[in-house]
Amino acid sequence: MTRWLPYPRISALLLVTWLLFNQSLAPAQILLGVLLAVSLPWLLARLQPVPGRPRRPLTILRLAVRVLLDIIRSNIAVALIILRPGMRGRTAGFVRIPLTMRNPNALAVLACIITATPGTVWVDYEPDTGMLMIHVLDLIDENEWIHTITQRYETLLLEIFE
């Protein structure tokens, strides 16, 4: 199993992707999909991904729902900021957030969450100290952001990855 499929779940994802793209369950498409699902993960192995699988599917679901709600909320917030005439009374700025997690996969997921959410962007991370720097479009209280990132996201990511 692992000799032919170094990353079984990536292979499954590729096969499903291929079949959905082609909107077909014809034997020829399945064969092509299996071919891709077996061959492409070998390229991934060359990238030497950090081992470690996410655990606790329920926590993953909780995190996904939480992120989805936050994305919708901040879409509205950022749209209102842009449409507000003059855009006065708002300061943008950098915030430093001390992180306790060190798992590279968890950090990558956090980077996607923070950047995909309108109003916050992942800027810099110091691996030695675990200090994360983000840029916030509407910065009112730094501590609130530190609390949001560490309590809302980091605690769940720690459960999933460590």
Binding site: L20, A92, R96, A116, V121, W122, M131, H135
Partner: protein, 128 residues
């Protein structure tokens, strides 16, 4: 799509509303690119189009084709999945390039890397 199939009114309204909402969000994001002042502020604006904006349009597309073909049409989920995965990578790369340049030239009041390497070494020495 065969010509004898017709979209029911409710599906037409839902699809139109979702597509219009998604397009409006993309437009607001584009306006933000124009109106916001610094690079670090501007980078926030296009995420409106790439998150909720594209989400609304994709759900609209799923409703439209599912009702029209009377079977679930789900490949829009792939677009959402790969969009969420790839957009942050581009944005983070752009921001990090800007940060590197601003730190190098000492512009735009960007914070230094924290804590400065020298104090870190001092602290370690003190502990020894």
């Amino acid at each position: 799509m065969s010509p004898d199939t017709e979209l029911p009114l409710w599906a037409a309204i839902v699809t139109a509303a979702l597509v219009l909402l998604g397009a409006s969000l993309a437009l607001i994001g584009t306006v933000g690119l124009l109106r916001l002042k610094t690079f670090y502020e501007r980078v926030h604006a296009p995420t409106l189009g790439t998150t909720l904006g594209i989400g609304c349009i994709l759900i609209g597309s799923m409703v439209y084709f599912t009702v029209l073909e009377t079977r679930p049409v789900l490949h829009e989920l792939l677009i959402a999945f790969y969009m969420t995965l790839t957009t942050p990578i581009t944005l983070v790369m752009l921001v990090r390039a800007a940060l590197y340049r601003d730190r190098y030239h000492g512009r735009n009041q960007v914070p230094d890397s924290d804590p400065p390497k020298s104090t870190l070494i001092d602290k370690d020495r003190g502990r020894d």
